[in-house]
């Protein structure tokens, strides 16, 4: 008896409900395709439009001032969210965590205590970006947060920080957040930028006409901060947070001089990088992006990934596409533009249609044209120098850079050997916050020309309760044929592995 492959649950499964995922979902649903959208958050919007619907409906004074502070770029998502919700044919599954994606279109999901697999004929990874992990002395102290986390608390928790607030790092989000805080009546004690005026000037040669609007926006943020009397420095180096139970002060070097400031909340941000946990565990090819000191998936312009798995584990052709910031950092406009391209490519793969239109591809190029300027103006700063020996790199297992360096020197000279020996990357984060630093330490210690490949990713890439594993639904009947190594002595005749090798 042959067991057939399970039937697909939808034409397309989209992972992530931010600008890219929503745009693609709407495009595909309007073309009559069945779409399942899996997203970790309770409402559509992704990181940028987080909780937007609810905040738009909040008519209280506090609600209105929050909306005003978050600005027009936040409200700009309202139309897309409305269109997304109006598509009754989209099977939208919020509060759902994805813990495995396979090259054949199988997606492992978790919702509360329930978990299982769904299958799409095509899969679109629109799971977004993450903030660049920045290990520095004291970064694990309570009171040290990332800019993204503070924005989450503003948008969804309606929480405002108090006390002495220091922002440190680089990138548009840092300046945007400083402005938003100021507008909410929270005046930061200092905005310390790692970028220098020289970076900004050098970056000017990358400016394209389409990049002028973001530039004007950025200059506006800077101007408003200056008017408000928010202190600001550039060229910040050697950041450290100090405190017994939580952060009490920060120190840093500017212009060769060490400074210390009292601090209750240190907000750090060193730019955003594509989240690679899903593509890595799916066995998709990643490439090292030197200037951005991060990996990103290797894709065709329409987002198609490339499998690195042995032929018996890959699907032919690959049905995994990557879009939005998960593919290439570009922000919401670029994500929406590419979400459309990816959707058109998926329609072509399902129908053998025409594929992405020239106009849709041009829109991606236009939206991304400001990136070379931003990359040059805000190079990685806090994470630029490798951490010193006493700084924790793997916070799940509390391993310092010194611990890792010692093991690398004693012969653990590839990522998997290093992980196996030290447990770096084996904790709940599964390497999300330590992997890039471990790889750079390995490259540095071995004097390798290139950054080594990532840790091997295996499912689950996010924690699943044991009870949910026990009751997984949607299993592939071809995979569940009982195969176990029997240890019970007298039962040799019942062994299920007793087929002799040919």
């Amino acid at each position: 008896m042959t067991i057939n492959a399970p039937l697909p649950d939808a034409d397309v499964i989209i992972i992530g409900c931010g600008p890219a995922g929503m745009t693609a979902a709407v495009e595909l649903a309007e073309a009559g395709r069945s779409v399942i959208v899996l997203d970790m958050q309770p409402t559509p919007g992704g990181q940028i439009f987080r909780n937007l619907e609810a905040n738009l409906c909040d008519t209280s004074l506090a609600g209105q001032s929050l909306l005003a502070a978050l600005g027009p770029a936040y409200r700009a998502g309202a139309d897309l969210i409305q269109r997304f919700k109006a598509c009754s044919s989209i099977d939208y599954r919020p509060q759902t965590t994805v813990w495995e994606v396979r090259p054949d279109g199988t997606v492992g999901w978790l919702q509360g205590m329930n978990a299982g697999y769904v299958r799409g004929r095509q899969v679109l990874l629109a799971h977004g970006a993450m903030e660049r992990p920045v290990p520095f002395p004291g970064w694990t102290l309570p009171g040290v947060m990332t800019a993204g986390a503070v924005q989450t608390l503003l948008k969804a928790g309606h929480l405002k920080p108090r006390g002495n607030i220091v922002l440190a790092g680089t990138g548009p989000l840092l300046l945007l957040l400083a402005n938003q805080l100021h507008q909410l009546g929270v005046k930061p004690a200092l905005v310390g930028r790692t970028d220098r005026l020289s970076d900004n000037v050098r970056a000017a040669r990358h400016l394209r006409p389409d990049g002028l609007i973001p530039l004007v926006k950025g200059l506006g943020w800077l101007g408003r901060l200056k008017l408000a009397g928010v202190k600001s420095v550039t060229g910040l180096e050697n950041l450290a947070a100090h405190g017994a139970q939580s952060v009490e002060s920060v120190s840093f070097t500017v212009g060769g001089k060490r400074r210390t400031l009292p601090c209750d909340l240190l907000i750090v941000h060193d730019g955003i990088v594509p989240a690679i946990d899903i593509p890595n565990a799916a066995g998709l090819r990643l490439q090292w992006d030197g200037p951005n000191a991060s990996w990103r998936p290797a894709t065709t312009p329409d987002g198609l990934g490339a499998s690195t798995l042995p032929p018996e584990m890959s699907a032919e052709p690959c049905v995994l596409r990557i879009t939005g910031d998960a593919r290439k950092i570009g922000g919401a406009d670029a994500a929406m533009a590419h979400g459309r391209v990816a959707a058109q490519a998926i329609l072509a793969a399902l129908d053998h249609g025409a594929g992405p239109s020239a106009e849709a591809l041009r829109a991606v190029g236009k939206a991304l044209s400001v990136r070379p300027f931003l990359d040059a103006a805000f190079p990685p700063g806090l994470a630029q120098a490798l951490p010193d020996d006493d700084t924790i790199v793997c916070r799940c297992e509390e391993l310092t850079a010194g611990d890792l360096r010692a093991k690398i020197r004693s012969g653990f000279r590839n990522m998997d050997a290093l992980r196996g020996e030290t447990r770096c990357g084996m904790g709940p984060c599964q390497g999300r916050s330590c992997m890039v630093t471990a790889a750079r330490l390995l490259q540095d210690e071995t004097r390798a020309a290139d950054c080594p490949p990532t840790f091997r990713g295996r499912p689950p890439i996010r924690p699943i309760p044991l009870g949910a594993v026990a009751a997984l639904s949607g299993l592939d009947p071809r995979a569940t044929i009982r195969l176990t190594l029997e240890d019970k002595p007298e039962n040799a005749s019942e062994d299920t592995v007793d087929a002799p090798a040919e």
Binding site: A471, E486, P500
Partner: protein, 381 residues
């Protein structure tokens, strides 16, 4: 004894190969290990590290007891510092739990058989006793079987320690060296063509693990071996509550709490082997059975998060015990592979007994059940 017999080539520098190399080198032999990857890359380093005589197959029992002697006195074998690095924890015990009548009746049978054979290491536990030893165990448990002297060790560290001990005794290890062909020399001994050159020795030992049958085939010998990928589930750290290792009888249950508090769940659930690519994949579709068996025994663990899974490549024979002994008509070619997922504990005894047999020129009677010739008669496919 002719001089050429005092040189050995061992294919596969895993734990078994290194253990044999250690004993041979100590006996004054000239030993070279060849490994297609790096020493200990596969099953040797990524198994669960169980040190268990509990529920051992009777045919393995005497070898397993000898191995336990070596583990107990590992400092004598490889030195105090190296022994300490192996994190040997004996005496925490391994317990088989009987969760239904059939398992309980098997347990009673096992104890009777144990007495009949004059072996005394496994004790019957009543329902009350087993629940007292295993907090959180389901009320459904009817009893169990304990081997109090059992425990576990760190497999990667142990593999490293045996490798270093073998090298200290004079064995040479050539890594990233793939065997391409074997040739028996006229008058005895073997010549190996490998990716890194030509090697010759009086005795050849095939310790190629999951690739053991492939190496045997290069010498024209057919041995039945299935390449499997046993896999494990690891949870987040929990409060320490469990010292002994718990195993199932008819259920795919096997788990322990690691020193850092995480639960390591095995039970023989198999992933997907890709031996040609030196790798294997965990298959989550097969994990529910192991997770369900764990929860049936310990219902309170339902909310413990699973963080990761792992797997490695292993060779399994049709009858569940390894091949250890000379090949058919080749006293100078030994096969030592197919440990079916329980070779870690046996390894010091395998080195001891195989080494002793090669040095003396007579196969030790302890190895009688493991001859590959058992597959020649009738039932082999």
């Amino acid at each position: 004894m002719p001089r050429q017999n005092e040189t050995a080539l061992i294919i596969g520098a895993g734990l078994q190969g290194c253990s044999i190399a250690l004993f041979l080198a100590r006996a004054g032999w000239n030993v070279t290990l060849l490994d297609k990857n790096v020493a200990g890359r596969h099953a040797s380093s990524v198994n669960a590290g169980g040190l268990r005589t509990l529920m051992r197959d009777w045919r393995e029992y005497p070898l397993s007891e000898l191995a336990m002697e070596h583990w107990r006195h590992l400092d004598r074998l490889i030195g105090a510092k190296a022994a300490e690095s192996c994190e040997v924890r004996l005496g925490v015990g391994q317990i088989a739990v009987a969760l239904d009548e059939a398992e309980m009746s098997w347990t009673l049978g096992r104890v009777q058989e144990m007495e009949r054979r004059g072996l005394g290491a496994e004790e019957l536990l009543s329902a009350t006793e087993v629940r007292k030893m295993l907090p959180g165990l389901t009320d459904q448990a009817l009893g169990g079987l304990v081997s109090r002297g059992d425990g576990h060790a760190n497999p990667a560290a142990s593999t490293r320690a045996f490798r270093q001990a073998a090298m200290a005794a004079g064995a040479k290890i050539v890594e990233n060296c793939r065997v391409l062909g074997l040739e028996r020399l006229p008058g005895g001994g073997w010549s190996i063509t490998a990716s890194s050159g030509q090697y010759e020795a009086g005795v050849l030992v095939n310790c190629a693990g999951a690739w053991g049958a492939e190496v045997a085939a290069m010498a024209g010998q057919t041995l039945p071996l299935k390449v499997v990928a046993p896999s494990m589930i690891v949870t987040a750290r929990t409060q320490p509550f469990l010292e002994p290792v718990v195993i199932g009888i008819d259920r795919p249950l096997s788990f322990k709490q690691s020193a850092v508090g995480s639960l390591v769940i095995g039970g023989g659930i198999l992933g997907k082997p890709c031996a040609d690519h030196d790798t294997s994949f965990t298959v989550m579709d097969r994990m529910p059975e192991g997770a369900a068996a764990t929860l049936e025994a310990f219902p309170a663990l339902a909310h413990v998060p699973v963080l990761r899974t792992w797997t490695g490549l292993e060779g399994a024979t049709p009858d569940g015990i390894p091949v250890i002994g000379p090949g058919d008509g080749t006293p100078d070619l030994w096969h030592v592979f197919g440990f079916c997922g329980h070779g870690f504990q046996l390894s010091p005894a395998v080195g001891d007994v195989v080494g002793r047999s090669l040095v003396s020129g007579t196969v030790d009677p302890l190895l009688a059940p493991f001859s590959g010739r058992r597959f020649n008669a009738g039932d082999a496919a």
